[in-house]
Symmetry: C2
Subunit: 343 residues, 2 copies
């Protein structure tokens, strides 16, 4: 049956130069492959869009092997097993994995995680708070940032999928939390709904001054999702033995010659700062520990989140661009096909 279905795919057509363009991707259609012995065929339901996708498309080796032109664009998806010839998977199982920008994918099971069959949270959470987004916030803040009660935590991209969780987890650890976002509506959301202590609109305020006003005791932890001038401004307010968690640098990814200028390296030395980068894949061996904590907080209503779901695989390139414009409102997903039991 599947062999008659069409598998729609986005392939990498050009390595993006600067801003992502639709022409960097090529739409292709081919027959849905059949699962061989030991394989599963997954129908993708949701595709996660993340700033790091821009790095994956760069043609350079990053923390994952470089993509070649013509490859299916790499992406994390949530899907349902439609055919299983693998002993550990059943038809109807739900999985997440790096299955790409396509409607159907084959897997030998080694590159996917099966969702729990019972007591599940809403499906989309497994691409958000219960997925690599949540684990990024959890391990980045707690393992790299190491917050103590009473400390001030500053977060950039604070209304983003990772930043919004970082702020809430920091609040759960007794910190004062200030978030940087790009609109008044997002500022209101993180303060009024998520419980941040203060927000800074980096588009309308002078960031350095605003940090001084809203972090009167300085910054003990800066959780950086953006890099660039905001990273430097945060360094200008960093306290003795402060920590800078380098999670992402979205301000730099579209630049042809990314360059980070620090006017405050002096303070870095004087204040004995630690700046440490991490990528969530380093913590996957400890994923269970993080997911148990995150699930409990979600069930207790202590972590709030929003999803921004665009309909249709054909809109995946546009959805990725939204992240760089900051026009997404919550964790950005593309819905590729219907959830089971829905349509």
């Amino acid at each position: 049956m599947n062999a008659l279905k069409c598998n729609e795919q986005w392939r990498l057509a050009a390595f993006p130069q600067g801003d992502i363009r639709l022409s960097d991707f090529a739409w292709s259609e081919e027959r849905v492959p059949a699962a061989g012995e030991g394989q599963i065929l997954v129908r993708n339901i949701y595709l996660s869009l993340d700033p790091t996708n821009r790095l994956w498309a760069s043609g350079e080796e990053t923390y994952l092997p470089a993509l070649k032109l013509g490859d299916i664009m790499r992406g994390i998806t949530l899907g349902i097993v439609e055919t299983s010839r693998h002993p550990k998977f059943r038809c109807g199982d739900l999985v997440t994995g790096t299955l790409g920008w396509q409607r159907y994918a084959l897997s030998d099971g080694s590159d996917v995680s099966r969702l729990p069959r019972e007591n599940r949270l809403p499906l989309v959470t497994y691409l958000g708070v219960m997925g690599s987004t949540g684990l990024t916030a959890y391990f980045g803040l707690l393992e790299i940032g190491r917050p103590s009660p009473g400390e001030t935590v500053l977060v950039s991209a604070a209304a983003g999928s990772v930043g919004s969780l970082v702020g809430q987890i920091a609040k759960l650890h007794g910190c004062r939390v200030v978030g940087l976002t790009g609109s008044q509506a997002k500022c209101r959301w993180i303060v009024d709904d998520l419980g941040f202590d203060a927000a800074i609109n980096y588009r309308s305020e002078k960031v350095g001054e605003a940090i001084g006003v809203k972090c009167p005791d300085g910054v003990d932890i800066y959780f950086d999702n953006v890099g660039g001038d905001i990273l430097d401004a945060a360094m200008g307010a960093i306290n003795l033995h402060g920590r800078i968690v380098v999670c992402g640098q979205i301000s730099q990814y579209n630049m042809q010659s990314p360059q980070q200028v620090f006017w405050h390296m002096h303070r870095f030395l004087i204040h004995r700062v630690r700046m440490e980068a991490f990528i969530v894949i380093d913590y996957l061996p400890r994923a269970r520990e993080g997911l148990v904590a995150l699930a409990q907080w979600v069930k207790d209503g202590k972590l709030k989140y929003r999803f921004d779901i665009i309909q249709g695989l054909e809109r995946a390139p546009a959805a990725l661009s939204r992240l760089f414009a900051g026009s997404n409102d919550g964790k950005q997903l593309v819905q590729i096909s219907a959830e089971p039991g829905v349509g």
Copy 2:
């Protein structure tokens, strides 16, 4: 008797702008003070000159309180107790402390350390390998850098007082060690005498390329004493989970608007690098641990060092300038008065 002697001093006359000038300091002479109850009078024998002195003179609060104009210039010295009205010190005891650019100093004992009365190493070592210089190398490399055997350690200012020890301690821990220095003679010294595996002359070689050639397996630890372009070049070669130990930034101290430009922050993120600054005073509670290890290595002939001793307190400003020109040849000291039993 002391009241008749003259105490010569250098006071801060201007906050240096850019390069240090003689006019930033003012020579003054006053009577040697008498030790009050609970005090000791110390005659300074050696003054240590260190790049960080430039920060102390800046008029800005650093990791120590700011100096004011007219204050005696701050400096670490080694001296001999000439009068003691303190129960824990005897006449003839040798001490180190931050006693300033002057011939005589009073102390209540809280800001000095007494040298061992027996089994002493050469006096100058207590301002070098057996002092804050040695502890800086020891704790910076081992606690912040955390070297493992087989790793590549790159050190800047590698013929300097700290860098030369860092390289040798890294060798003792089984690392491959490459040093950056500013002359062919220093390159030869660190390779031929100190046992570095390779040296790079940053004045005559293209640093980025040379690092690539001489660190063919990349850089696991970069011990930074200089900042600026060399720090960026080292970051361009840093390995997965590499560590950058920020010990000093001598290239920046004389700049009016110090600015650090990184072209390789991308690599910082992708390779999950940790960059951490430290100042040895954070480790003083653990000084004994470091000094025991350092003394043993010195006694075993495993750590070599050189001193560059300028005669006469009047030449202290010039001696400090030598550090920034890189014209010192070993740990820079000024001899203020004679060692006991010598003159």
